[in-house]
């Protein structure tokens, strides 16, 4: 088992973390562990340096993203949560379906202003999920709710990605 992602950055496992501080610490560590610094080292050390750099990068990407951080926190508590498993969360999925339909219409009408409004609503929904998760993830009695919110975050991530892709297409 490798070092916990949080420990790597001298952080306690928590959902609420200071992202600026995380970025600063990441840059410091990335400099220290950069494989170029081991260019003249023995092959074994070079390999270890590469592994450390890869682990650092993985840890940073995981902690930087709220949805990945949420999944990681739940996994740290020993919960195996396969994201491929089908979710039956009817109300939420219905809402997701409607949001995708809305985005499709914005694409068809090439409505950039509409996309901007959509994006703000999506950000607000993401912030709400994150607050909800922050308030319950470490309470054993609310484990199911924390898992549900974490899964919902993954769907909103996908939606945010689609919004970005649509913006790029409309910009061209």
């Amino acid at each position: 088992m490798s070092t916990c992602h949080f420990a790597l950055f001298d952080l306690q496992p928590a959902f609420a973390i200071d992202l600026d501080q995380l970025a600063v610490r990441y840059r410091e560590l990335a400099r220290e562990t950069h494989p170029d610094r081991f260019a003249d080292a023995a092959p074994r050390e070079q390999r270890q340096a590469l592994e450390r750099a890869a682990q650092l990068n993985d840890a940073y990407q995981t902690l930087k993203s709220p949805s990945r951080r949420a999944l990681y926190l739940l996994a740290l508590r020993g919960e195996h949560l396969p994201l491929e498993a089908t979710v039956q969360d009817p109300e939420f999925l219905l809402q997701q379906m409607m949001l995708r339909e809305e985005l499709e219409e914005l694409q068809d009408s090439a409505d950039l202003a509409g996309v901007a409004v959509f994006k703000r609503r999506l950000k607000a929904a993401q912030a709400e999920l994150e607050q909800g998760f922050a308030a319950c993830w470490d309470r054993p009695a609310e484990r199911e709710q924390a898992e549900r919110l974490m899964r919902r975050m993954q769907f909103l991530d996908k939606l945010a990605l689609e919004v970005r892709e649509l913006e790029e297409r409309l910009d061209d």
């Binding site: 396969p82 994201l83 491929e84 498993a85 089908t86 979710v87 039956q88 969360d89 009817p90 999925l93 219905l94 997701q96 379906m97 995708r100 899964r151 993954q154 769907f155 991530d157 996908k158 939606l159 990605l161």
Partner: protein, 128 residues
């Protein structure tokens, strides 16, 4: 990753895309999602009084394999009884579409959507 010809065919010419009135007592709606890829799938069936699926519609927001799996599922369900439809296996969908191992979960999602739609119909009719 390369999609099989069958996946591309269903992706480019999806069968039975659409929406039915979810409030209709003869309509069963299955709504499922997969967090890993953020796919959302709605599959609906319209069932005749003698228990045969006379129409099926779907709408999927997801990758080509997820769209093809649900498109094929609606094709296969039409004309089947509820029990027959429920016995459609994801492995059969995956085999027909030649899905690669990393896309098997898309066919699982379609199988789960079929089951959810049948269950919704049965619940409406007080059969569960």
């Amino acid at each position: 990753m390369a999609y099989s010809d069958k996946v591309i065919d269903h992706y480019e010419n999806p069968r039975n895309v659409g929406k039915m009135d979810a409030e209709d007592p003869n309509v069963g709606t299955g709504m499922v999602g997969a967090p890993a890829c953020g796919d959302v799938m709605r599959l609906q069936i319209k069932v005749s009084d003698d228990g045969v699926i006379e129409d099926a519609k779907f709408k999927t927001y997801g990758c080509g394999s997820a769209i093809a799996s649900s498109s094929l599922a609606t094709e296969w369900m039409k004309g089947k009884t509820l029990d027959e439809a429920e016995s459609i296996k994801n492995t059969e969908l995956a085999e027909e579409l030649a899905l690669p191992p990393v896309k098997i979960h898309c066919s699982v999602l379609a199988e789960d959507a079929i089951k959810a739609a049948v269950r919704d119909y049965k619940q409406k009719k007080g059969l569960l």
